[in-house]
């Protein structure tokens, strides 16, 4: 029992950044836009949240700043792809390359600066319950937020009229436009939301998961989040499942390394999340009909009213 709680807590910690980034990208893709800049936006959010936290000591402000940075970078993507009709794949890649450079530049003076991790919630009585207490009632605010956001996204997409409109824009923007829905504006909001969520995922990395700043500290999590959206066949509930599967996998791999078994070199254990991503993609994608049925029909295509 004593080891179960820490294991569960670590799985949650490893999963949360993926959940944020993936749920944000899910909304973006549901609106018919493919933003490959998740990795860059995560790094932007991570570095800004860290800097604000170090400079002001105010973690709430740091979290907001991380989300704002992600949204601002997404805004840049939106100007290019929605306003100037640029190719979404190329623009997303540019955003990631730009984010890697920008975060390295901004964070230059902060490499190695120590930071206390976000405080864990502590409810006397409840948090003391064995296993369940620390796992359910002893997390930091971002973990709870990740679940609130996921729930809200699921409710919004499938239980509200606005969510239906957003999905219809992703399926057939020309029809939505003809009915009179503001396609570009809806997509803009979706893209900004996705950016804010990627920023929060990054903020979680630099404020809580490993409270520090290092260049490219997201280590491909933005890309894994993109794969998770496909894995989840664009459904919020399955995004949670996917994110937690990956969190568990990351943890298992870290534990094997921690046991110091020299039989498997650490590099091979570090490959596990990346190879798992490929395996998962293959398993899901091999059923082409399932992907076609679930993927937003207009994903990645430039929308211009004249057609």
């Amino acid at each position: 029992m004593d080891i179960l709680a820490p294991i569960l807590i670590s799985i949650i910690a490893a999963s949360t950044p993926l959940l944020f980034a993936a749920i944000g990208e899910l909304v973006v893709e549901k609106s018919g836009v493919l933003n490959l800049g998740v990795e860059g936006m995560m790094l932007g959010g991570a570095v800004i949240a860290f800097i604000i936290s170090v400079e002001t000591g105010n973690s709430a402000l740091a979290i907001v700043a991380g989300a704002a940075m992600g949204a601002m970078m997404a805004g840049l993507f939106a100007v290019l792809t929605l306003g100037l009709l640029a190719n979404q794949v190329a623009t997303g890649l540019a955003l990631t390359l730009f984010g890697i450079g920008l975060s390295a530049l901004l964070g230059q003076g902060y490499v190695g600066t120590p930071l206390t991790a976000l405080p864990k919630l502590n409810i006397p009585g409840l948090t003391d319950i064995p296993v369940l207490g620390p796992v359910v009632f002893g997390q930091d605010v971002l973990v709870y937020l990740s679940f609130v956001v996921t729930g809200l996204v699921a409710w919004f997409l499938y239980r509200t009229r606005a969510g239906l409109v957003l999905r219809s824009v992703g399926e057939n923007p020309h029809a939505a436009h003809a009915i009179g829905f503001p396609v570009i504006r809806i997509r803009l909001f979706a893209v900004l939301f996705g950016g804010a969520m990627a920023g929060l995922g990054g903020a979680y990395l630099s404020l809580s998961y490993t409270p520090m700043w290092a260049e490219e500290m997201s280590a491909g999590r933005g890309w894994i989040a993109l794969a998770l959206v496909v894995f989840a066949t664009w459904r919020p509930g399955r995004v949670v499942l996917g994110a937690y599967l990956f969190g568990g996998l990351t943890l298992a791999q870290l534990h094997l390394q921690g046991m110091g078994s020299s039989a498997i070199p650490s590099q091979f254990l570090n490959m596990v999340p990346y190879i798992a991503t490929i395996v998962v993609l293959v398993l899901i994608s091999r059923d082409a009909t399932r992907i076609r049925m679930n993927a937003p029909a207009s994903i990645g295509k430039v929308f211009h009213p004249d057609g």
């Binding site: 190329a90 984010g99 450079g101 280590a219 993109l226 091999r286």
Partner: protein
């Protein structure tokens, strides 16, 4: 109200003018960025773009950095033309370095003039093999090649790290994670005294010429173009989509692998944990900046090479952070993509329509 009106035909003038415009805007924003960082903008830009080109050594360095960029971007451009997005060139470069460098280690002490060509071929095979994975998974299982090739980049980096800290580590290397220096005859010959320019640059020029021929004059080049522009038409014409995916991924993988082998047999001379400052990713920018055209790519590669050595020179001369290079490169691609709108659309001022 400003509106965009689709041009009946894309504008050839803007197609070639936009890269120039994008470079101009990037330099302009660079000046603003440098001022914000507290540097004299003119001084910083001079250190960045002019100083590296003052002597033959600097020009040699320019070709050294342009070589892998051009070779990789040529391969990527062939794929991009067919809408095949190989984003994992960095990983294929790493594999090429491993296989090419591995041959140098295998024949250590038994080198001959035959070894460098063998290493380059080995690099191409390694890169192509790495690119064959996304090709297979895409054609057989419909798995997205962007994500697969990118994940494999991380795997390749870890594999290299394992090799140079484990089985291939130099026993006399004082514990540093690197292999022994390759024998002299495993290295690519340099071309001039007083410069590190090596035979890789002529290889890049040959690649450019071959790609031009392939794209403009060969049947496969035509197939690639049709598949990229109108997939349904390609289907009616009986062009196999799977064949195009295999051909473009293997070509771009082989070229990225070639670049990796050139790097280790050329300027580096051994295997270390990091053999590329992100050439595989920067080559994506090079491909777009060069308009996916071989000649354009050559110019774009030289320009991006300048951004690398400019970054180093600005760091040495003024203490500018090296990360500025990445920001510059990202900005350049942004400006290019933004100004691309001029190629396909006309900007019109028209009164806001009522109703609708």
């Amino acid at each position: 109200m400003i509106a965009l009106e689709r041009r009946p035909n894309s504008s050839r003038l803007w197609l070639y003018a936009t890269p120039v415009l994008a470079v101009f805007l990037t330099v302009l924003s660079g000046a603003v960025l440098f001022s914000l960082l507290g540097f004299n903008a003119i001084e910083a830009l001079t250190a960045y773009f002019i100083s590296p080109l003052r002597d033959s050594y600097g020009l040699g360095e320019l070709t050294i950095k342009a070589t892998p960029l051009a070779i990789i971007a040529i391969g990527l451009a062939i794929g991009f033309r067919a809408n095949v997005w190989n984003i994992g060139a960095e990983g294929q470069l790493t594999l090429g370095a491993i296989t090419g460098g591995g041959l140098a280690l295998l024949f250590y002490g038994a080198e001959g003039p035959w070894l460098p060509p063998l290493m380059l071929i080995g690099g191409m095979v390694g890169g192509a093999a790495w690119a064959a994975i996304p090709a297979f998974l895409r054609t057989r299982f419909n798995a997205n090649e962007i994500l697969v090739s990118l994940m494999l980049t991380y795997v390749a980096g870890l594999l290299l790290s394992y090799l140079v800290t484990g089985p291939w580590k130099d026993p006399m290397g004082f514990g540093f994670p690197r292999t022994r220096m390759f024998g002299d005859e495993a290295l690519l010959p340099t071309l001039f005294a007083g410069s590190r320019m090596h035979i890789g640059f002529p290889i890049a020029l040959v690649t450019v010429a071959a790609a031009w021929f392939l794209i403009a004059r060969s049947f496969i080049g035509f197939q690639i173009k049709v598949v990229g522009l109108t997939p349904p038409a390609a289907g009616y014409a009986g062009f196999s989509n799977a064949w195009i995916i295999w051909a473009t991924l293997l070509t771009s993988g082989a070229l990225a692998g070639l670049a990796g082998a050139i790097e280790v047999a050329g300027p580096i001379g051994q295997l270390t944990p990091s053999i590329s400052p992100g050439y595989g990713f920067t080559a994506i920018i090079v491909a777009f900046l060069g308009r996916l055209h071989p000649l354009g790519i050559l110019f774009a590669a030289l320009l991006m090479a300048l951004s690398y050595i400019g970054g180093e020179s600005a760091q040495i001369e003024l203490g500018l952070p090296l990360a500025v290079t990445g920001v510059f490169q990202g900005m350049l691609l942004f400006f290019l993509l933004a100004s691309d709108v001029l190629v396909h659309y006309r900007i019109k001022l028209r009164p806001a329509r009522e109703g609708v």
